[in-house]
Symmetry: C2
Subunit: 312 residues, 2 copies
């Protein structure tokens, strides 16, 4: 099957022709321009798809399928229900796109699509069930069950980041309190670090940030923990404890075959993975049983393209 | 198919011949005697199965399948891995049982089995996916996906009661802190009521309990709330808020077709259901979308027998 995967993001739209094994054969991208009318945005995406096909030696009519991964939710008929970053609300994306290229289309959430990519061509390849957790500005997740994306019976599942981890906890951007992403995202780590350096400025975290708390990012905190800065070590332990509890919630409730970690924070690599592997087990009810292994995603930013293509 | 479902509990073992539609054709029970050697317990269960078959006009050799629901976890080969109430640890239950009756056997967790019963013959009949939450002394849950029990890839899932709802929260019997069942079980409601009456003894809760805090049970608190006792109303609102957040976590993460509530607390009926239906929506990320309806279980204590028989 000749397929294109499109990864729709707030700053850019990446796409590629992907073979059945999940290899990217050609890759193109365009900047996201949310100020344009949606019909114009779709026309540009279609033009780019034609170029992407050509770069892989394919004519437009040879493309069988185009899949879209979006930072939002879509209905099975190809309507984007909500995609805040793109300002798309109830947009008939598939219908609009087919005016340019008459192909079979599917649309799904970007974290779901990344979960699918890893389970088809990445670290969870060969597994029947997995949960992919992307740890970046927020926390996203995608669930694979019986080899297929499980986005819920009403298409609103997989929102691990907005499950409640702390009753009456911190206010979240979604309007609720205590959402998991308030404790486990990169932003959460940054926030607890900024609060801490205000009280204890004698730390590598602050010097690495040029003395400016506003310059602190997750990498600075993690690197300082790696270098045994006492404050960073203690903040990192607290963050690992939160993230370990989030992972344990996934195990205690869903128990997938494997749990995959992606997103910016996962770039910390073994330093993150080793700490989390020790931590999450503490919170498992049946901790003496075989447990889902914890692994890092391997496809990186390409997961969006590969997974979208695999929606076929 | 001729099948028997066996509901193994800490005080009694109930069983019945169940037809393919989930109707119980005969029912027998024996008391649980954990002090006996396990071989003797199994022999008594087998004797009871023979009587149960006879009561439905069946000879033992006409039984095709016997399913067990246990308050614990079992391996696919019919070994009970852990069943604390029965003091069964790594007991080859299927193998032991077949020395008495050579039938096909399956064993699963009691909450999973109740979830299956409701989805085959109860309130969630006809649904493809559901989550059953049993609210009693603790919180149990069972997940149905694509019409089958999902107990996880390692058999340790469905433990909603031990997912963490409150970081650094109350100590749970499992050894962790902040487990959902510490906030959402009947015991949780009793605990917050006992704490509250100590400070504010002028309440219907205490008078209904004969002035003795140790006599307070969940029903007393709920009935007092129903009668507009101010303290009870406020405690019940807090409890509903906790339970609403627990249900929202299930929706935000898994989004099943329907959520079913069972167990002792669910006997509060519409007074519980109406309050929860309003409450859980508040914590859903995509609250303007169609959501899983919330319903009460209808099979009551028979769910254990019916669901175990349906494991075939």
């Amino acid at each position: 099957m000749k397929r294109i995967g499109v990864d729709v993001g707030g700053t850019g739209i990446q796409m590629g022709v992907v073979d059945d094994a999940g290899n990217i054969l050609s890759k193109e991208s365009i900047p996201t321009q949310i100020s344009l009318p949606v019909e114009e945005q779709v026309a540009q995406i279609a033009d780019c798809a034609v170029r992407t096909a050509a770069a892989a030696g394919l004519k437009p009519q040879e493309i069988d399928f185009i899949g879209f991964g979006i930072p939002g939710i879509a209905a099975p008929d190809g309507t984007v229900i909500k995609c805040t970053n793109m300002n798309w609300h109830y947009i008939p994306l598939a219908e609009l796109f087919r005016k340019h290229l008459n192909v079979r289309i599917a649309i799904d959430n970007d974290a779901n699509v990344a979960a699918l990519a890893e389970s088809v061509a990445g670290v969870s390849k060969g597994s029947s069930s997995s949960v992919f957790i992307t740890i970046g500005t927020g926390i996203g997740s995608g669930i694979i069950i019986n080899g297929r994306i499980w986005s819920g019976a009403h298409g609103i599942g997989g929102e691990l980041g907005h499950t409640i981890l702390s009753l009456d906890g911190d206010l979240c951007t979604c309007g609720n309190r205590g959402c998991l992403e308030r404790y486990c995202s990169a932003n959460a780590l940054i926030r607890i670090a900024r609060e801490a350096v205000a009280k204890k400025p004698d730390t590598l975290i602050l010097s690495a940030a040029g003395g400016k708390p506003e310059n602190i990012n997750a990498r600075i905190v993690i690197d300082a923990a790696r270098e045994n800065d006492p404050l960073a070590v203690s903040l990192y332990a607290r963050y690992i404890s939160y993230l370990g509890q989030a992972i344990a919630n996934v195990v205690n409730f869903l128990d997938p075959e494997i749990i995959v970690l992606g997103g910016g924070v996962s770039k910390a690599g073994a330093f993150l993975l080793d700490a989390l592997r020790k931590e999450y087990v503490r919170y498992i009810l049946y901790k003496d049983q075989p447990l889902p292994p914890l692994e890092l995603a391997v496809l990186g930013p390409d997961a969006g393209i590969i997974g979208a293509a695999m929606l076929a």
